[in-house]
């Protein structure tokens, strides 16, 4: 059991992140994209939902046929300095309309949560040594955003337009 953040709340979570050959448990799990593509039919029939784990170098287009049925996609940060998953997240949400859970796993640090959330990730498995409850504060440190992104808060340009419209 680990504590994860999901939609800015804490949950206990026992999702297993499986390798290519690990047996499937009867609890939530994810498999790497390659395994998903190989065993897709069988995995879809599994009694508990199976999610897909994307590495930063995976092509998300391979998942397009499954986006409407998948309920969990995990974006794996092998290194926290690898920024490709942010683009994957935005494309999944904004271009391909994925609405299930989009979870950051791996090297997930508190100081990146807000960037991740703004790109459409909504669940976070913090890497070890970080206190999930304390990390919730990270979402409220910055409240002004200068550019449109995936997550709801309006970009500043729109705020300003609204304000000047209100003044007219």
């Amino acid at each position: 059991m680990r504590r994860i953040i999901k939609s800015r709340q804490l949950f206990d979570d026992n999702t297993h992140h499986l390798g290519l050959d690990d047996p499937l448990p009867l609890s939530p799990c994810t498999v790497p994209l390659a395994r998903w593509l190989d065993e897709r039919e069988q995995l879809c029939k599994h009694p508990t939902p199976v999610g897909v784990r994307l590495s930063a170098s995976d092509d998300i287009k391979a998942l397009l046929p499954d986006l409407s049925t998948l309920t969990l996609i995990a974006l794996e940060f092998e290194r926290f300095t690898d920024g490709r998953s942010y683009t994957q997240a935005r494309l999944l949400r904004e271009r391909y309309d994925y609405t299930g859970e989009l979870r950051a796993v791996g090297a997930v640090l508190r100081d990146q949560l807000q960037f991740m959330e703004r790109c459409g990730m909504d669940a976070f498995e913090l890497s070890a040594h970080q206190d999930a409850a304390d990390a919730l504060k990270a979402f409220e440190q910055i409240n002004i955003f200068f550019q449109p992104a995936t997550a709801a808060p309006a970009a500043l340009t729109r705020l300003r337009q609204r304000r000047s419209a209100a003044h007219v």
Binding site: T87, Q114, C119, Q147, R160
Partner: protein, 552 residues
């Protein structure tokens, strides 16, 4: 200039509080060195030779007198009394302990300043023509677009962990004073056949270990599409730029690997998806931003007859300064004044707190309270009445800021080098001083004419050595400082990389080598041609022969 509104202020204050919290967690041991590194870099903080180096953003080089006063206060209260202007129009402090950085950032926030994205693998502070808005050769003022880009790129959630740093520059003038072609993205404001202004977009330029001149990715981009097109370029780069080797991670490597046509295709494919997104600028967005950069309250004046032949020594000194340190202004009765930070015997680009303080007062009195920073590491008072020039000149002399050497061989671009920077292989400040000392005579400098020397203390090329008319690169040879020379480089619209002169030169021979290069130029010069023109015409061999001729 752009003035912060309540949103901008709230943002910088939140950012300071966030960094204060991050610094406290690092000092408590909750964050490792590796984890803290990108956080501090995104706030302008490097770990340097003596103490952290704090690089403060001066967006597109525009600075108010009030802001300069705050920089003076910080230099005095937290540093050793001086700051260093960089080739990216920023200011660096070198001696502030980490524990005090959050306080410095809080002080900066009181005058609408910050150090956000002055380093790190993100979109850096946008740079521009230092004469924006006052140059006669300008098609359109680039600063509103710089500010739009600054805001769009600020804490961009998708582009905070790019493969490598990313630099954007804009020019709206005929003459390129901002080295547009050696940036990751360079933008020239241009007019199309229909008479609309928009941008010519260049991509993949850069210096460093692999110097490359930028390539045109789009001949004409309508203004409304500026941000969506930049986002498309950044998205392709973020996905496909190399991350396995820090020296091959800049966008220029990706552009060269794919070829510009293939890269363009990928960008255009991406752009079709986002061209009509919320990033699209409407006329009101652009007009609102242009409203921040209107002309100051100029008086209706006529041009004075400034340049007169004179015998008197004091008048000749003033004429020298007028000739070399002032430029034509687009408004009659005004002139642009360059404030030289290339005082022989001092580190190029350095300025002391008393100078900053008093220069701020001069900006208030003579130039509408505004200054600009140039990428050649000088300052500009852009809007000076011609009738006030003599008084201003006397004031600048008292501040040691009137050395009439702008554009001469002594007006060198120079990185901090081994004296401060932990990346450097060799000193650059002392080399600059050595060269300045061997050309003490102003008349000789004026006779030599336009000759830009750029000095970098290592191959990261902060001193832009590849595009110096004479480029000097410090290298380490078995623990000794040696210097490689290149000739014929230039930035601007005719940007070209310099040609390697030959084997590296020992430190104590650098000034002698410059003297010899200059001697070859003077003996071959035809019809007052510039140094680079002579190099182009006669090639590099005559220089090589003379510089490496056996000593005695």
């Amino acid at each position: 200039m752009y003035r912060y509104d309540a949103y901008d202020r709230q943002f910088v204050q939140e950012r300071v509080a966030q960094f204060r919290d991050q610094t406290a967690r690092f000092l408590r041991g909750d964050l490792s060195e590796d984890e803290f590194k990108p956080l501090r870099l995104m706030n302008g903080l490097y770990i340097q030779r003596h103490a952290p180096m704090l690089r403060i953003a001066i967006p597109y080089g525009l600075l108010s007198a009030e802001q300069l006063r705050m920089l003076a206060t910080i230099a005095r209260d937290y540093d050793k009394g001086y700051g260093h202007f960089t080739t990216r129009q920023n200011l660096q402090f070198n001696w502030i302990p980490l524990e005090q950085i959050p306080d410095v950032l809080a002080d900066l926030a009181t005058v609408d300043m910050h150090a956000i994205q002055t380093s790190g693998n993100c979109i850096r502070n946008v740079t521009a023509d230092q004469l924006a808005g006052v140059a006669a050769d300008e098609l359109e003022d680039p600063r509103p677009y710089c500010e739009l880009i600054r805001q769009w790129s600020t804490l961009h959630p998708e582009f905070t962990f790019l493969p490598r740093k990313f630099k954007i520059a804009i020019s709206g003038a005929e003459q390129d004073r901002a080295a547009i072609m050696v940036h990751d993205i360079g933008l020239y404001l241009v007019r199309n056949a229909a008479g609309e202004t928009g941008f010519q977009v260049l991509v993949g330029g850069g210096l460093g270990r692999t110097p490359v001149i930028g390539k045109v990715i789009r001949e004409f981009l309508p203004k409304r599409d500026l941000l969506s097109y930049l986002e498309a370029i950044l998205r392709v780069y973020n996905q496909h730029g190399r991350r396995d080797n820090i020296y091959k991670a800049r966008i220029k490597i990706l552009v060269n690997a794919l070829g510009i046509d293939q890269f363009r295709q990928q960008v255009e494919d991406e752009w079709t998806h986002i061209q009509h997104s919320a990033l699209r600028l409407d006329d009101a967005d652009i007009a609102a931003m242009q409203g921040h950069f209107t002309a100051p309250a100029y008086e209706q004046l006529t041009d004075l007859d400034l340049f007169t032949a004179t015998e008197k020594a004091s008048d000749r000194a003033f004429q020298n300064w007028l000739q070399h340190n002032t430029l034509a202004h687009k408004k009659t009765g005004y002139r642009i004044v360059m404030v030289s930070l290339k005082v022989p015997g001092h580190a190029p680009g350095d300025i002391r707190h008393e100078q900053m303080e008093r220069l701020a007062a001069l900006a208030d009195r003579y130039s509408f309270g505004l200054l600009r920073v140039t990428h050649q590491q000088n300052l500009v008072l852009a809007d000076v009445k011609q009738s006030a020039l003599r008084k201003l000149w006397r004031e600048l002399i008292n501040l040691q800021l009137a050395t009439p050497n702008i554009g001469t061989l002594n007006d060198m671009i120079c990185c901090p080098g081994l004296d401060f920077c932990s990346l450097a292989n060799a000193g650059s400040i002392d080399v600059a001083q050595q060269i300045q000392a061997s050309f003490p005579d102003l008349e000789q400098l004026y006779d030599i004419g336009e000759l830009r020397i750029n000095i970098s203390g290592c191959m990261n090329a902060c001193g832009h050595h590849h595009v110096g008319n004479i480029g000097i690169l410090g290298v380490d040879k078995n623990g000794e400082e040696w210097y490689q020379f290149t000739l014929g480089g230039r930035s601007g619209r005719e940007a070209r990389l310099g040609l390697r002169l030959g084997p590296a030169i020992a430190k104590d021979q650098v000034a002698t080598a410059i003297e010899r290069i200059v001697a070859v130029y003077l003996s071959h010069r035809e019809n007052n041609e510039r140094f680079v023109d002579t190099v182009d015409r006669i090639g590099i061999d005559p220089f090589k022969e003379h510089v490496y001729a056996a000593h005695h």
